[in-house]
Point group: C2
Chain length 374, copies 2
């Protein structure tokens, strides 16, 4: 059992979810409130969690939407208060974990929810939320260790909430919970982890420990993601992909880059409902092609980590990986049209991830990236 | 400026010490008490720190011995209380930082000091100490981020104190402060960092993020330590060695190995007063020679990090590094005799680092290690 303690304490191994009662006791949570989604209620993972708890939780909110909304968090907050809960257990992918963070904010912070958002520098108003135990069931977002939560506001805007207070109090990473993840979701979430690792390594922020973790995570995902997609029951592959996801989020404390800026921008197009990991996967090779030649040393280190030839084309290698694991190769294949671009363009330019990108990116550069990925 | 936040928040760069007033304000320290040693008082670094403070600290204890003692910590605690101080600034190498931790324990914990020691499982009695800002002036121990402190008790025993509460509240790593470190001390402390990185990677504990950081730190020390020793004024080399030291301590959350066990054991021989880093440097190649063949995958990763041939003899490479940076090649050269062995042997076997070693080590194995290193 790996016990890791950078940013958030994490218990990591097959069967780790059995440690939940002990963890709750340590955190003085006697009335846990579980946040999850309908899929995990249907496929038995919620039952598995409740069995691990040993007794019924104080309450359960199993209606997390695919993209968490302010409205859903508000309903969960009503239930949380009614249950007289004293802590949160988030079971799921990034959506459940982000909804749990939003719920945590709502039950501890007065005033309009949106004033806490990143675009209005709301971090300065964010203080302690109830103790939050994150139990991821996908391997990609790394939300179990990250400072962020993405929520669609009542006004339709997708807002990012960022604060050290949003880092879960404890993470329980049990790869067993990912064994049933279908190949497409394994591939898409896995490429989210890969993108976190690679963009974090390339970001201009200086943070050698995070960079080392990112390189290791990229090496791990490169080796094990095709295995996990080809054979979801491969326990080694599931272990390593959950680790790569965890490492990706540890790495991105040093920032991300324009893949995420563009991915966030297109992810806001409500009628398309695009998967964040798939977007990252499709855009990543094109960002790499544009950065190539401007970050030689880091490209060399990434090539070495991926065991590629010293003159290998990194962008082509990632494109090839996408193909091998069955992901689309263009935004147009995903339903994006040129009509979506003007709005997304403005958002991408102002996205927080743009500032940390390996090379400066303005509107024209984003035009080129969009065109390449289109 | 790198701002890193695994285990302890760290501000890292040339000139970082100028951030001290801001850091103290954030930590609500209005009456800082400075712990340092006579060398740093003599060479002007204490003056530099006080200049950065902008005003006189509430008190200064500049009598830290080369190996911190319970008696010295007690005297510092008296001064701390008399100064009505509300926080500690440790300026120095491992000794000043460890003494500061001991002082912190003394002013907050009742009863005999030794009951808090690791050998009597004292960690369970250790709670919060005053806020502690660590400002390292050597690059090796990594005590600015570590959970431990080593103190010679009144009864003559060398005791290790370990608790998450002993991790400094904040680290300020300013490579500028190491520019004047003489070549021998640069070499010896640098090999302490190198040993932390390599033993942490090889330890049996599973912690991939720490392992990745250890590999990166080893790569960094391998490249930059000879440069720092040859030219102490090389700022890049000083930056990277301070980073390797920081990374070594982040890495050894996953444990160390028998190099440290033997080094601790021989470091307790009072009449020899051996330098911990030099001991590590001398012993490391011999531990590697004994582990070789039993940890192939990790050896391969270390070779790759050090840019060695895939069939290179890692032990010989480290021996050669020691030679290049002017360190001794045997314990006997350092004054150790066979008469020192029986007592040291018992200590080494029971040292906490032994349990995490890459391969199990009993008395006979330690006999062999001692003989090889002798």
């Amino acid at each position: 059992m790996a016990v890791m303690n950078y940013l958030t304490p994490c218990i990591f191994d097959f069967g780790a979810v059995a440690q939940l009662p002990k963890v709750l006791k340590t955190l003085n949570i006697s009335r846990p409130f579980v946040v999850t989604d309908p899929g995990l209620k249907a496929n038995g993972l919620l039952d598995k969690l409740i069995a691990a708890l040993g007794e019924a939780p104080a309450g359960v909110f199993a209606d997390t939407p695919a993209n968490p909304t302010e409205a859903a968090a508000r309903r969960a907050a009503v239930d949380y208060r009614a249950a007289k809960a004293d802590g949160i257990v988030a079971l799921g992918g990034g959506s459940s974990m982000d909804l749990a963070k939003a719920l945590g904010l709502m039950v501890t912070h007065e005033g309009p929810f949106e004033r806490l958002g990143g675009t209005v520098r709301g971090a300065r108003f964010i203080t302690k939320i109830p103790p939050l135990v994150a139990v991821p069931t996908t391997a990609g977002t790394g939300s179990e260790v990250s400072v962020g939560a993405v929520v669609i506001l009542d006004n339709g805007r997708k807002e990012t909430f960022v604060s050290p207070f949003l880092i879960p109090t404890q993470a329980i990473c049990d790869p067993e919970l990912t064994l049933g993840l279908p190949p497409m979701l394994t591939a898409a979430t896995g490429m989210d982890a890969m993108t976190h690792c690679i963009e974090a390594v390339l970001s201009v922020v200086v943070h050698p420990p995070a960079e080392a973790i990112g390189l290791d995570g990229a090496e791990r995902a490169w080796k094990w993601l095709p295995v996990a997609v080809a054979d979801g029951s491969n326990r080694d592959a599931r272990w390593h992909m959950m680790m790569a996801s965890f490492q990706g989020a540890l790495a991105f404390v040093k920032g991300l880059g324009v893949v995420h800026s563009l991915s966030h921008a297109l992810g806001r197009v409500q009628e398309l409902k695009l998967h964040h990991g798939t977007l990252n996967a499709v855009i990543l090779p094109h960002s790499l092609a544009m950065i190539a030649g401007h970050a030689e040393e880091k490209f060399a280190r990434i090539r070495r980590a991926l065991d590629l030839a010293s003159d290998a084309d990194l962008a082509a290698a990632i494109s090839d990986l996408n193909k091998r694991i069955g992901l689309p190769s263009s935004l147009s294949q995903m339903g994006v049209t040129e009509a979506h671009w003007p709005t997304a363009r403005e958002y991408a330019i102002s996205d927080i991830a743009t500032a940390a990108n390996a090379i400066p990116f303005d509107g024209e550069k984003f035009d080129e990236l969009f065109k390449r990925a289109f």
